[in-house]
Amino acid sequence: MATSPPSTHSVGVSVPRTDGTAKVTGSARYIDDLPGMPGEIFGRTLRSTVPRGVLRGIRLDPSFDWSDVTVVEARDIPVNAILMISEEQPVLAEGKILHAYEPVALIACPDRLKLDRAARAITLDIEPLPAILDIDTALAGKDVIWGEDNVFKRYLITKGRGDAEGRAASEAGIDAALAACDVVVSGRYETHHQEQLYIEPQGFVAFWDDAGVHVTGSLQCPYYVHKVLKRALDLSSERVHVTQAVTGGGFGGKEEYPSIIALHAALLARKSRRPVRMIYDRTEDIEATTKRHPAIVEITTGCDRDGTLRALKARILMDGGAYMTLTPVVLSRGTLHAAGAYRWQDAFIESVAVATNTPPNGAFRGFGAPQTIWAIERHMDRIARAIGKDPVALRAQNLLRSGDTTATGQTLGLSVGGHACLEAALAESGYHEKRAAGPAVNGRVARGIGASVFMHGAGFTGSGERMLKGKVAIDLLPGGRLQIRTASTDIGQGTETVFRQIAADAAGIPVTHVDFAVPSTTVVPDSGPTVASRTVMVVGAIVEGASREIAERVLAEQAAGGGSFTEAGDRLLSREREVSCLKVYEPPSFIQWDDTTYKGDAYPCFAWACDIAEVEVDLDTFEVTVKNFWSATDVGKAIHPVMCKGQIEGGTLQAIGWALCEEVVWKEGLIKNPRMTNYIIPTSLDAPPFHTTLIEEPWPYGPGGGAKGIGELPMDGGAPALAAAIEHATGLIADSLPMTPERLHTLARTA
């Protein structure tokens, strides 16, 4: 075990967040708050207006004065490729257009009005082609836009009788297992795009000097940007400098996309030889940046008449958009969560992600899991209906416990809090009483209650952390202080504060004695990306280990030479000049994962939760009001209970928005509602009172006495809990999202 009892107690205490004062006084500098640099000019992107076509050329109006306008085209780019998992996505389109809003050219100018006019003086000569705009057309493969068959990636997970050599034999095995079951239930579930809609639009400032290129921006993962710039600009590592500005929300939307803006700004700065500021307006941000992958999930299950689950067969289809970006990883996480939080003897879960002529979909809190958890949780309700059992009793009966194995064959050991969450949420919400009383109808309004139970893997999948080798540096500073250097960013979730708490307790110093270095690739090591519910659990563990090592050196000095911790530290510093610890993450040694068979320990551990939604449905207009929302979440250990609850509530409201009102409206590959006035997220009047319970089943390898990752988990359970509550209130069974009043009305009419 990596932990020992803390000698001070900032962990578990909701200390004032360390960036709080700057944020409440308006002095925190987000990217567009940075003062203009001398000679700075403004950059802008010109984009395709069709979803697919042939780019014949770019025409500049000869009557326009181009003297102070910089224009960058594909030919100006050293290597026209964005390096993610693959590198088929160009920085600027060359020859072919694969999605609407695809960047084609870049312009920059000192005057914003002239910049706007210059954009109108450029004509993109694009010959439109018929576009593939949905999963079914892509799968049919009659027209191919990616690879040989439009397929980005496939996975297959098998267990029990699904285990066999080859896909066909596996499928025959699961079909046989299903055929032997008392009750077989099938369903099809759909989910839609979702926009992250962080309130701060994306943006960067870029400039070049003798040291190379410098970019500062709103971002989650400095080293992702670093990698992309290095490749496309053909630079050595040390000539690329990426710095995070205070970042106004990310939710995955600032995971991979910022690399593209940084690159665009850097290219304009390179050609113009001036600093370039490139800030997206809201419409451009919604149109161009990534969204949550839409998915279709087909599930067939077999169970005993008493509800004991036996066999699961699932097929997952995801729409990746026009380029691969992170789609294989999103599909992987979705596939790994498709079995839900339940025991299955036999399983066969296959998944496919395809290419369409829509803007690339990407990272968004939950990363594929909300889609498949929506499906399995709705399916659990369907089974309950089929066998006439209470949906919560069915869940409790089959919910994984310590000692059980998951669909990938992972045997769960410590920190398995599903049952504790379920019991706490049921008790807090009065679920059983309300459920038993039936839907409460008052005039034309019906009230109902529904539940979901779910788990979410924390950290990178399987051997991911072992390959990633995340690093953190801790420095001893004069005055008995420590400095944390990490590439894990604070994008609002509280990384700065929580890391300080962990470091302070590990070193036995007050939290106010810990500094947090601005994440800049020039000074911080690569801790891995700020994604995947890994920051507290994985990177926090490195912070804890490295802080303890530094503290041990100071304590040894103290033992040898006396004096206070501060005095001993200062002596050490004066002697050695630099006292630092660069530590690499060591995952627990027992984790075994096979990337080819998709078997083994998919995640070091899971966070668990039960969500319970209470809704009122207007029976005339089908408007849904969420009256109350209970959530009990096993977080391992809450380092900062207030921020931990804030994460859960904020993630849950995103799930509520996804479920009830958020919808990207498409027409022929274009987004019809790229504004805050028509992409509808919940306001304070739409949000329910949240009743959040933290359950602590410590994960012994987590920092601070057992913290697990919970960043994504709260996105998973909201939609199915709401669907169950709506069903309880009205009898309407929604298997597709979003559950807008219009769709519920259609359901009621066709019921």
């Binding site: 944020k23 409440v24 006084t25 708050d33 929300g249 809201r282 979730q493 904020g650 409201l653 006035t677």
Partner: protein
């Protein structure tokens, strides 16, 4: 157009195009970057400031309409070392996460508490409905405002300074959407 107005209590004068957004005048001309831009169409509320004491979206106010008027931005609520009760409570109760909506939320909350020193949750939710937050789910924001209301009332008692609380009509029952015939 020459415009003189008060910003956070100090007289300011500028020569600006009359249709320039107050938001840009504050951020680009006066350097008050605490007021944020999230949508440029009056939806998100990140640019909320007080104009003669009422909350407005600075992205929809031409600076030419501000002649002789008083503006309060987040910078006018309190600075490091002199935080207002609202600012303190937003730090203590988790009201700020990414912080981009926070300045606007604080302004709306300040306006609420000036008019209604003891708001219930419904009144708080209504007062903040023009400030979109994507991080918190609003729960901690509401708790922060509630805590600040308590603190302000205690402060007002302690210093014997009966603040201008305006009328308390904002707290009236807002649950009846229909009025039946007598």
């Amino acid at each position: 157009m020459k415009i003189s107005f008060k910003v956070n209590g100090a007289a300011r004068e500028l020569d600006a195009p009359p249709l320039q957004r107050l938001l840009d005048a504050l951020r680009l001309v006066l350097g008050l970057t605490g007021t944020k831009e999230g949508c440029a169409e009056g939806e998100c509320g990140a640019c909320t400031v007080l104009l003669d004491g009422e909350p407005v979206n600075a992205c929809l106010v031409p600076v030419g309409q501000c002649q002789g008027r008083e503006i309060t931005t987040v910078e006018g609520l309190g600075a490091a070392g002199h935080l207002s009760p609202l600012q303190r409570c937003f730090i203590d109760h988790g009201g700020a996460q990414c912080g981009i909506c926070t300045p606007g939320v604080l302004i709306s909350a300040e306006h609420l508490l000036r008019r209604n020193p003891d708001p219930d949750d419904d009144a708080i939710r209504e007062a903040l409905a023009g400030n979109l937050c994507r991080c918190t789910g609003y729960q901690r924001i509401i708790e922060s405002v509630r805590a600040a209301a308590v603190l302000r009332r205690a402060d007002a008692r302690d210093v014997g300074d009966p603040r201008d609380v305006g009328d308390a009509r904002g707290a009236r029952d807002v649950s009846h959407d229909r009025q039946e015939a007598p």
